[in-house]
Amino acid sequence: MSHVPNINFFKATTGLKSWLFTLDHKRIGLMYLGFIWFSFFLGGIFALLLRLELLFPNGWFLTDRQYDQLFTLHGAVMVFLFIIPSIPASLGNFFLPIMIGAKDVAFPRLNLASFYIYVVGAVFGIGSMLIGAVDTGWTFYTPYSTSTDTAVITMTLAAFILGFSSILTGVNFLATVHNMRAKGMTWFKMPLFVWSLYATAVIQILATPVLGITLLLLILEKTINIGIFDPSLGGDPILFQHFFWFYSHPAVYIMILPAMGLMSEMISTFSRRSIFGYRFMAYSSIAIAIIAFLVWGHHLFVSGQSMYANMIFSFLTYLVAIPSGIKVFNWMATMYKGSLDLKTPFLYALAFIFLFTIGGVTGIFLAALAVDIHLTDTYFVVAHFHYVMVGGTVMAFIGGMHYWWPKMIGKMYNEYWARVACFLIFLGFNLVFFVQFIMGSKGMPRRYHTYLDQFQPLHAFSTYGSWVLGLGFLVMIIYLIHSIFYGEKAPANPWNGITLEWKTESPPVLENFDKVPEITHDPYDFAAVDGKKYE
């Protein structure tokens, strides 16, 4: 193993086996990427069907049960199979070691194991659809989940297994960041994407096990009636909600933190400008990770939770808004007086700021106790978290995928069609979800298969928007696949970035670098590169 062949990782070994048993973080990352996008399109098809069904007030092609199953599957697939692993497992796996100048993650075999655990979880999850898909909503609230006759056990088992995949990825990344950094790469010379993955890993490790035990107890509840969550046996259903949200709220930050890291990378590179307030950005990632654990109770404001708990959780929820705000302001300041190159990844970054701001400020409404009482469990909440999750995470994910596509695949995509798709996705997304804020404020509850006739025009508007959004993703997938086979060969550094991943070839060589570089300057030190005096 002393001699490292200087060839790119695609060509190093070939054949199906070389992929299935690979220990190379880059290949594992790409396999994740494939599975994650497959899950996204599966969840997306569910979403389109849901919107189509909601075109008319009394439903037209689904029964109540089928509708319930469909929205549950949409939620479960999107949360557990797509968005939680999305950025960390795919782009994170591929780029974390490269960005800190390591040859691989700390535990490559564990990394492969995480991937296969993910696949097994996905098989369980998708398998549950065939044997009576769950209809509980992705939150599995008891006692509904313990009394329904759908395949709750299979789906909870899937989420349980996927949780372990997530934990192991977190352990791996944390150890990698701690001990695998190249010479000279001090903590404050790490790119912000690495910082955000580090913060994410902390949440993955400390929150996910609670989901594990919750789902295990739910399974015990269904199989041997352990009684802890079942009110008819003296258990406490609100306790289930505490357990569930102790994981699932921090999970929201598992979803958004890596996206914020990606944003910092893209904004800095395409503004050709050192990131504004690097340390604040790093600290705010950690702050978000910590405060994320303290706010879960805001999902329980109307559940019958104590009013003192409501007060404390409401206050802590506001605190988490502060570091998120800092990030947005710092990105703005980074663009100020930069040299903005409006390439596709940067367009997605701009879309992120636009949509995430809406998602963020509507969060302020929901954290205000009195207002939340009215808005919770309505379409307002649906719109809010889609603005944060899709408008935030998914936009950054797509942007990041375009940003690193040349590096990962070694081919350039078509810039024109990429911009068309970006525009369609941005437009379609707003058409679908903005109107849902109005619906929710007007009182339209979520998870309704049928609804009052008066809401029909608003629902129809949202449904038409979903077609535009779907078209955007279709265009994207076509030109991306096209680029794999017919794309122009990508140079090593198409965007003139200065973080480490641009210092290796496209696609990277087997162990990432021919010679691991020694790090001497800050990750975004464009001043040094451009060699110009600034005021």
Partner: protein, 325 residues
């Protein structure tokens, strides 16, 4: 009577954002909502405005290849945009919490009423008069109400958009909801915690009556309960009250349970291959012991109504089903 036949429209009443506000609680919520709305609009347009300005002004051009400035940080600026939002959200928090407390604490002269939720209907009861209504909560105008709620099966949630109040309804634990309505009329009540197939049809109405109407309504109710209705009308009333229609249609469309249309006297294909004629006794068994004979293609989910209905009421329902051809 002030109770119109249909509910006040949520979409077409009130402003762009909210349905018409009916009561103190709603005014408090709306005031805070619009305060946040204003702040949000300023923040949003500030950020997007700056974004657009930057994109136009600092776009990369042949004569502008590198950044004009590489300022890496400004502690003063960063502290400013940490502290200013912190102050703003603190104001919102205090406002939100005090408004919340005012809204949830019932006044001492509140009239206590009970609500029971089940899959998929509501029952409301006035303990002082013993009057019980299904899917219709009738309250006097300007009277503070304290609703004590519980559920018979899973978690439900009672939501009255016009009053801006909502509270989960738990099995095995009481929760309460306080409100005062200051405008007579009929308002929508939703269930907002997912509770199964009939969740979207677990609808009810809040009927707010002024004092005269309320007294008259009480008298009518008492009279109606003692009056002898024709059997099929009694059946229709009982079916409505018991929420039968959240699962059974009368127009032949398939719902959670079989439609009642034309069912009387028809041959029913049962789960397990048997079949049975839907005569009076079959229908009675279907009400008292629904799990015994399940029509093919349906799930066994109907609860038993044994003990909940009198013989006369049951006969009424069967008679009513007979009339739906």
């Amino acid at each position: 009577m002030a109770s119109a036949t249909s509910n006040l429209s949520l979409v077409h009443s009130g402003g762009v954002n909210f349905p018409l506000a009916v009561g103190e609680a709603a005014y408090r919520v709306d005031a805070l909502y619009f305060f946040i709305y204003f702040l949000s609009a300023v923040t949003f347009f500030g950020i997007v405005g700056a974004l657009i300005y930057f994109v136009i002004k600092f776009r990369r051009r042949p004569d502008h290849q590198i950044a004009l400035n590489q300022m890496t940080h400004s502690t003063a600026l960063e502290i400013a945009w940490t502290v200013i939002p912190l102050i703003l959200v603190s104001i919102i928090f205090v406002w939100g919490y005090t408004a919340y407390l005012k809204n949830i604490v019932p006044s001492s002269d509140a009239k206590e009423m009970r609500a029971i939720g089940r899959k998929w209907s509501w029952t409301f009861e006035d303990p002082t008069t013993g009057l019980r209504t299904n899917n219709e909560l009738v309250v006097p105008l300007h009277q503070p109400i304290r609703l004590i709620m519980s559920s018979e099966d899973v978690i439900h949630s009672l939501f009255i958009p016009n009053l801006r109040v909502k509270q989960d309804v738990l099995p095995n634990h009481y929760t309460t909801l306080a409100f005062t309505a200051d405008r007579a009329g009929r308002y929508q009540i939703f269930c907002t915690e997912f509770c199964g197939d009939g969740h979207a049809r677990m609808l009810a109405n809040l009927v707010v009556l002024d004092d005269a109407d309320y007294v008259k309504w009480q008298a009518d109710q008492k009279a109606a309960s003692s009056a002898t209705l024709p059997l099929n009308e009694l059946g229709k009333k009982v079916s409505t009250d018991q929420g039968c229609f959240s699962c059974h249609s009368v127009d032949g469309s398939k719902s959670i349970g079989p439609s009642w249309k034309g069912i009387y006297g028809a041959n029913r294909q049962l789960v397990g291959g048997k079949s049975a004629k839907a005569d009076d006794n079959y229908l009675r068994r279907a009400i008292v012991d629904p799990a015994a004979e399940i029509t093919a293609g349906y799930a066994p989910m109907m609860p038993t109504y044994a003990g909940k209905l009198s013989d006369q009421e049951m006969a009424g329902i069967i008679e009513y089903i007979r009339t739906i051809k």
